[in-house]
C-alpha cells in the first residue's frame, strides 16, 4: 500500500513538472505574446537582443529570465518613450537577468505580488528603477541599478523584504524602504548617489507604519551627487551628501556598515515634522528604538552642502557623523567618540539584546490571495496609469477627471483608445499603446476609472 501511494505521489509530482513548460522568446520578438501564452509555473527564456517593449505579467509563478550569450544580453529598451519596462502583479514571479534602460516611469515594478524575486538585473534610468510595492516576502538580490530620478531600489508599503548584494550608484537615493515592515538591507554597495540609504515613514499613504528594519554589512560611501530629481517632485527635497537617513520608522538597527566619505553627514535620524512631512495624524511622527551599533565611520561631514548644508551652517554645526533632530524615543548608540548632534537623550545600547535578524523572509512564504477583477484593475491603474495621469491635475497626460468627462460610462471606447492611442492634442506627449496588458486588464482599468475613481 505504501509503495502504491508513493508511486501515485511521485506520479503526480512528475505530472506537475511535465505541465510546467519552458517557453522561449526569439530575439526581438514580442515578450508579451509569450507571457500571454504562458501558464502558471512556466519559465520564459528571453534570447539576447533588443526589445522595445513593455511587459505585463499578472499570472502566478512565472519565471522570466533574460539570457546572455557572447557578451550580449536580453535588453529591454524604452527609448525614453515608453513608461514601464516589466510590471508584475502575479504572485511568485521571478524576474531575472535583464538589462533594462530608457524607461520614463518604472524599470521593473511589482504591484501586489507576493513571494517575488527580482534578481541579477541591470537597470539604468527611469524614475524608479526597481519598485516593488504592496508585496509580501520578496527578494531583491544581485541587481545593478543606476540613474534613477527617485530611488534605485524603492520598496513601498511591503512586508518581509530582503535587499541583498545589489550595487546602486548615481541615483538620487540608492536604496529605500518606505512604509515597510520587516526589511533587511545587507551586503549592498551603495555609492555616488545623492543619498545612500533611506528608511522612511511617509504620511498620507495607505500603510501607516514602518518598523523592524535592518541595515547591516553594507558599503555606503561617497554619496555626494547633486540631487537631480525633477524640481517638482518630492524626491527633489532629499538632502545630499548623507550616508543613511532614517525618517520615522521604529525598531531600526544599523550595524556593521562602512559609512565613508559623505560630505554632509554619515547618518541622519529625523522625525517626520522636522523633515517637512506633516499632515497625517494617523502616523506616529517620532521614531522609537533606533539602534546604531558598531559601524565603521570614515571622513563624514567634512563639507556639508545642499539643503542640510544650509541647516548646519545656520546652526553652526561641523564634522557631523551622526545627526538627529532629537525627538526619537528609547534610542541608543553603541560607539563612543563619534561627533554627534542631537543625541542627548540617547543611551548606550544594551549589548545583551540580539543585534538583528539575518533575513526578513518568511520561512513558509506568504499567502497568495487570488485577486478579483476589481483589485487587478486598481493594481494596474496604480502601476501604469498614474505614471502619467493624476486625478485632478495635469502630470504628463490629461487629468483623470477630464478623461471621465470625455468618456462617461463608455468603457469600450476608453479601452479602444488606451489600446491604440491617437494623438489629438499637441500640448501632450504621445501616449504609448497599452495593449500589452491584455483586454481583461484594460477592461478592469477602464471600469475602475469611469465608475469607481472619485474625487
Amino acid at each position: 500500500m505504501k509503495t502504491f501511494i508513493s508511486t501515485i505521489s511521485l506520479g503526480l509530482l512528475l505530472a506537475q513538472a511535465a505541465l510546467a513548460a519552458e517557453l522561449t522568446v526569439k530575439s526581438g520578438s514580442s515578450i508579451q505574446a509569450v507571457v500571454n501564452q504562458a501558464q502558471p509555473g512556466d519559465t520564459i527564456l528571453v534570447e539576447p537582443g533588443r526589445y522595445v517593449q513593455s511587459v505585463y505579467i499578472d499570472k502566478p509563478n512565472i519565471t522570466i529570465r533574460g539570457l546572455s550569450r557572447d557578451g550580449k544580453f536580453a535588453q529591454l529598451d524604452g527609448e525614453k518613450r515608453l513608461n514601464d519596462g516589466i510590471i508584475a502583479s502575479g504572485h511568485g514571479v521571478i524576474i531575472d537577468g535583464f538589462h533594462v534602460t530608457g524607461y520614463k516611469g518604472n524599470g521593473i515594478m511589482t504591484q501586489g505580488a507576493n513571494n517575488f524575486k527580482i534578481i541579477n538585473n541591470v537597470v539604468h534610468g527611469a524614475f524608479y528603477s526597481i519598485f516593488p510595492q504592496y508585496g509580501k516576502n520578496g527578494l531583491i538580490q544581485g541587481n545593478t541599478i543606476s540613474g534613477a530620478e527617485d530611488a534605485g531600489i524603492y520598496v513601498g508599503m511591503s512586508d518581509n523584504i530582503d535587499i541583498i548584494g545589489n550595487k546602486a550608484f548615481e541615483n538620487v537615493m540608492g536604496l529605500e524602504l518606505e512604509n515597510t515592515r520587516f526589511g533587511v538591507m545587507a551586503n549592498n554597495e551603495v555609492f555616488n548617489n545623492s543619498t545612500g540609504v533611506v528608511l522612511s515613514l511617509v504620511p498620507g499613504l495607505p500603510v501607516k507604519t514602518a518598523t523592524d528594519l535592518v541595515v547591516r554589512d553594507n558599503i555606503i560611501r561617497d554619496n555626494n551627487l547633486k540631487n537631480f530629481a525633477p524640481s517638482s517632485s518630492i524626491a527633489a527635497t532629499v538632502p545630499e551628501g548623507v550616508g543613511i537617513i532614517v525618517v520615522g520608522p521604529d525598531n531600526v538597527t544599523i550595524s556593521g556598515n562602512t559609512i565613508e566619505g559623505h560630505k554632509t553627514a554619515g547618518l541622519m535620524v529625523s522625525d517626520i515634522y522636522s523633515f517637512g512631512l506633516g499632515g497625517d495624524s494617523k502616523v506616529d511622527p517620532f521614531s522609537e528604538n533606533v539602534r546604531i551599533l558598531e559601524n565603521v565611520w570614515i571622513d563624514n561631514g567634512k563639507a556639508p552642502f545642499g539643503v542640510l548644508g544650509e541647516v548646519f551652517e545656520a546652526a553652526d554645526l561641523k564634522n557631523v557623523e551622526v545627526f538627529s533632530t532629537g525627538k526619537e524615543l528609547s534610542s541608543c548608540i553603541s560607539q563612543s567618540g563619534l561627533n554627534t548632534v542631537g543625541l542627548d537623550k540617547w543611551t548606550q545600547c544594551d549589548r545583551s539584546v540580539p543585534a538583528y535578524f539575518q533575513s526578513a523572509l518568511l520561512k513558509d512564504g506568504a499567502e497568495e490571495p487570488k485577486y478579483t477583477k476589481e483589485q487587478k484593475g486598481r493594481l494596474a491603474y496604480l502601476a501604469v496609469c498614474t505614471g502619467c495621469h493624476t486625478y485632478n491635475t495635469v502630470l504628463h497626460g490629461p487629468s483623470i477627471m477630464s478623461i471621465k468627462a470625455l468618456y462617461g460610462d463608455d468603457t469600450e471606447a476608453l479601452v479602444k483608445y488606451i489600446s491604440a492611442p491617437v494623438r489629438r492634442r499637441t500640448d501632450f506627449p504621445e501616449m504609448p499603446p497599452q495593449d500589452y496588458m491584455g483586454k481583461e486588464t484594460l477592461n478592469s482599468i477602464a471600469h475602475y476609472i469611469l465608475f469607481d475613481l472619485t474625487e
Partner: protein
C-alpha cells in the same frame, strides 16, 4: 480681536518645499492676472465691502477666498488709519497662505497649475508684507499685532522658501510670539501658545525644538482658550508622542465635548475631525473615533462643496489602497 485666525495656520517646514537655490518671486505684484480677471468687484469699494465677509468664509474655494482676501486688502490700503481693518486684512492673507499651502500636492506637480499657485503665493506674501509695514509701528497698541506678524513669518516659509530663509525667520517669529503671549496670552484665542507649541514640536532640538516645551505651551493655551478645538488636537498629539497616554485620552475626551459647541469654519472643522480621528485611532478610542467620524460625514454630506482632502495617486504612489479599495486617510 478675531477668532478666525486661530484656525489652522501652517507651520514652518524646514526641508520640504525648500531648496538651496535662491527662490525668486514669480510676481512681485500684489495681485495676479488671474485674480484681476476673476475678482470682479475690484475697484468698486462699495461692492468689495459688501461681498468680502462672505467670501472669507469659503475656505473650500481657493479662488473665492482669494478674492475676499484681496478685497479686504484693497479696502485696508484705502483706509488711512484703519488699524483694525489692516490687522484683519493681514489675518486673511495669513489664512489664505495656509489655504494655498494645502494646494501644493504631495508628490509631483508641474505645469500651469503649479505656476499659477506660485504666482498667488508670492502675490499674497507681497500683500501681507505691505500690511505689516503699516502695522508694525503700532505693535505697542495691541498684542495682536506682533502675534499676526509672528504668524505671518511662520506661514511665509511654508512653501517656496530656501532653508536659509526659513532659519532666518524662525527666531524672529518666536520672539514676536513670546512678546505677544507675555502681553496678552489670550489674544487670538491663545494663538500665540498654539504656534509656539507647534514650533517646539516641529523643529529639531538644536534649533529650539522641544517636545516637553511644546506640551507646556499647549497646556497653557488650553487654560486660556478651553474651547479651542485645534489646541486640544495638538495637546492630544503632544501627550501621545510623549507616550503619556492617560493625559492624551483626557485631552481627547475634552475635544469630544468641545466639538459639539465649536463655532469654527466648517472646512476647518471637517479637517480637524480627520486629525482628531487619526489620534483617536492611535489611542484605540473607538468611542471618540465614532463621534469625529460621524461629525465629519455629516459636514461633508450637508456641505458637498467642502474639500475632503483626498490624496490622489501619482507616479505609482499614494491614493486608495489598491488591494482593499479603501482610502486609508478617511476616518
Amino acid at each position: 480681536m478675531n477668532k478666525r485666525l486661530s484656525a489652522l495656520i501652517a507651520l514652518p517646514i524646514i526641508l520640504a518645499g525648500c531648496s538651496s537655490a535662491a527662490v525668486k518671486p514669480v510676481n512681485d505684484q500684489v495681485i495676479t492676472e488671474k485674480q484681476n480677471a476673476l475678482c470682479s468687484a475690484l475697484g468698486d469699494s462699495q461692492k468689495m465691502k459688501q461681498v468680502y465677509p462672505d467670501l472669507l468664509k469659503q475656505k473650500w474655494d481657493r479662488y473665492a477666498y482669494g478674492c475676499g482676501a484681496l478685497y479686504q486688502y484693497e479696502l485696508a490700503q484705502d483706509s488711512w488709519f484703519g488699524i483694525t481693518l489692516k490687522a484683519e486684512a493681514l489675518a486673511s492673507q495669513i489664512s489664505y497662505l495656509d489655504i494655498l499651502s494645502k494646494q501644493y500636492p504631495r508628490i509631483y506637480q508641474e505645469g500651469e497649475a503649479a505656476r499659477e499657485l506660485s504666482k498667488e503665493w508670492f502675490a499674497t506674501k507681497a500683500r501681507a508684507e505691505s500690511l505689516i509695514s503699516s502695522l508694525d509701528r503700532y505693535d505697542w497698541l495691541a498684542a495682536e499685532i506682533p502675534l499676526l506678524h509672528g504668524a505671518y513669518l511662520i506661514v511665509s516659509v511654508e512653501k517656496e522658501a530656501t532653508v536659509k530663509e526659513s532659519f532666518k525667520v524662525i527666531p524672529h517669529a518666536r520672539t514676536l510670539l513670546q512678546e505677544s503671549v507675555a502681553d496678552d496670552p489670550a489674544a487670538g484665542d491663545a494663538l500665540g501658545y498654539l504656534l509656539l507649541g507647534r514650533l517646539a514640536m516641529s523643529l529639531p532640538t538644536f534649533f529650539g525644538g522641544d517636545i516637553d516645551k511644546a506640551t507646556d505651551y499647549f497646556e497653557k493655551g488650553v487654560k486660556q482658550a478651553p474651547d479651542n478645538l485645534e489646541m486640544l488636537r495638538w495637546l492630544t498629539e503632544a501627550y501621545l508622542n510623549q507616550r503619556q497616554h492617560e493625559k492624551a485620552n483626557l485631552a481627547l475626551t475634552d475635544a469630544v465635548a468641545v466639538m459639539a459647541r465649536a463655532t469654527i469654519n466648517i472646512q476647518d472643522k471637517a479637517d480637524l475631525m480627520t486629525d482628531l480621528g487619526g489620534l483617536a485611532l492611535r489611542l484605540n478610542r473607538q468611542d471618540a473615533l465614532g463621534v469625529f467620524s460621524a461629525e465629519r460625514q455629516k459636514l461633508l454630506s450637508e456641505n458637498p462643496y467642502l474639500l475632503d482632502r483626498k490624496y490622489h495617486a501619482s507616479l505609482g504612489h499614494g491614493g486608495t489602497d489598491p488591494v482593499t479599495g479603501k482610502d486609508a486617510n478617511e476616518i
